[in-house]
Symmetry: C2
Subunit: 345 residues, 2 copies
């Protein structure tokens, strides 16, 4: 896998959602991150020490992670310039963008010159099969969302940790570049060939018989016209027993699409259940997860309570409030096996 | 493009659905096909003359089309042996399988040795963009289905021809390998990276302002657990004004999945309309197309009449009965522009 400690790249980013990979690593692999790189025009910070590439190497960093995202996932010229400088300073470079580092001749040449390695996290396995939809053993939970970037990965990771804390076997199954960097394995679902979407999920979350849970990271939204195909295949491949619906209250429009409104929560939940039932007719919702980071904490708690009552489901902000009410619901609905043992993340 | 005349490959195929690419070319490009290649254990025929590779070359063939399909789209050893022999005999080789001819060293070597070319029809364009869901000008019809291989391409081609026959501008927009070989262009949708499914369709069917129609070839089914992600992205990218639902009455189970039943027609139509409304809230159904090739003709007509009455939609077998009732419905629902002119296929 990719050598750590990591040095996290922010570059010229001005959009908090655009740096979600770097932030995810800072939050869930903070112990393996030595600092952050940002230009003077970047107003964002991960709360890590700002360093140059040379300072990062001196601090022990082994890999620069280009943890920023943009629609289409192209490598801009700024990014290539910075990655080249990082290689020259002695860092490997890892990227989760669609456009591959290995397809950029300047970076290939620089990596060769300085004896460093380029890691394209978004390369799917080459042995994927078409999905078969056959019922398989084990318990699976999938996070779904009203939109992209509403907290599905955070929620999934928090649920996995909370189950493990209760001594229940639980594995986080990563489906995006940030999740893969955090977990150390997974499938970069949006980079998979369209015919293999559901099959890739069947592979990343195979049958399990230890009584434990697979917590599968959701992607996109059935209501996002750019990415709903991915979300649909993910629902079918996951065969989820349980869904958690993720949402950011107050978001003005669908991510990247000012001409699209967010769906109604109830409509979104029902649509996800309807699609999920094709491969698991017994799927049920077990919770709602709000990203309330931009809200007043008291208003956030009131909204969660109100939503919980309206849907008869636990509703929390997994980061601010934890996920214990959702865990309680899961355990109430699915009797845990006494043979379950705690698995690693 | 690929040099014709074509020589159509059946190989060892025993499954009619598995040879649909070869058959599609025989039906819709018959004037450009000199014959068929099949082994002694192949009980199928396209009604073309059976020839050896050498006889095909003598008859003027320039390209062997490996027009057979299998789940996953791998090149078997038989296929590679035959393709190599065809190259040696003096034919180019074209394939729509997922696994590329150019990734098979024996074929690359043979093509170089004999001065022939390998054509991988399933290579998508490398300039695809993520879909944006913005409303665009023009009229679009999409065929959708209860399952894979129920006649969506045939229906779409017949609709395009029938509109052209009425002097209405109409273009067939191919989304699969057979359609692309017939039309000469298109997007191999199931080979596109998952994040670009809807964007690829926005590109293959751009805004049009001549009052004519784009007839977009559907793929898969919302109810096929292997491929519903593709079908979802296709619905969103197409922004269809009109849907035609395709079905093969009497099919015992979903293609390739004995453990999955076909959906109810009404449920399938409603699900497609619901998904399509995300990018075109005004979408309407304009017809139902049955593949009744395995039915008694009188029973087929009775079933079409009964279905038409139940759904208040024209219902025909496009091959056996033509598509005129659906064209009438389209023209009744969408007033044709007087400026429309007939476009090429």
């Amino acid at each position: 896998m990719i050598p750590h400690p990591y040095f996290l790249y922010l570059g010229h980013s001005v959009d908090e959602i655009g740096i979600k990979t770097s932030r995810g690593l800072a939050v869930f692999r903070g112990e393996d991150c030595v600092g952050e790189f940002r230009h003077d025009d970047c107003p964002l910070t991960l709360g890590l020490k700002r360093m140059s590439f040379e300072e990062a190497v001196a601090a022990g960093a082994r890999t620069l992670v280009l943890g920023i995202a943009n629609a289409g996932g192209r490598l801009g010229r700024d990014l290539v310039d910075d990655a080249e400088a990082a290689l020259a300073a002695g860092l490997n470079v890892a990227s989760g963008l669609h456009q591959r580092l290995r397809d950029e001749p300047r970076l290939v040449a620089a990596a060769a010159k300085y004896g460093k390695t380029l890691y394209d996290v978004r390369d799917p396995a080459d042995d994927l099969e078409v999905g078969n939809g056959k019922a398989r053993a084990g318990l699976r939970l999938l996070t779904v969302g009203t939109d992209c970037s509403v907290g599905k990965m955070y929620t999934t990771l928090q649920l996995a940790r909370a189950l493990q804390a209760r001594k229940i076997a639980a594995d986080f199954r990563a489906t995006g570049q940030t999740g893969i960097l955090i977990a150390g394995s997974g499938v970069p679902l949006d980079a998979v060939i369209a015919d293999f979407i559901s099959g890739a999920i069947e592979q990343v979350s195979p049958a399990r018989t230890d009584g434990g849970w697979d917590l599968i990271e959701g992607q996109g939204s059935l209501f996002h016209p750019s990415f709903a195909g991915v979300s649909t295949g993910l629902l079918h491949g996951a065969q989820p027993d349980a869904l958690v619906l993720c949402h950011e209250p107050g978001r003005p429009h669908m991510r990247g699409l000012p001409h699209y409104q967010l769906p109604d929560l109830a409509e979104c939940l029902e649509a996800n259940l309807r699609v999920a039932r094709l491969t698991n007719p017994n799927v049920i919702p077990v919770g709602i997860a709000f990203n309330t980071s931009k809200m007043d904490p008291q208003a956030a708690r009131a909204l969660c309570a109100e939503t919980a009552a309206a849907f008869d489901l636990p509703c929390v902000d997994p980061v601010a409030m934890g996920v214990e009410p959702i865990i309680d619901r899961i355990l109430a609905c699915f009797a845990p096996s006494t043979s379950a043992t705690t698995a690693s993340r």
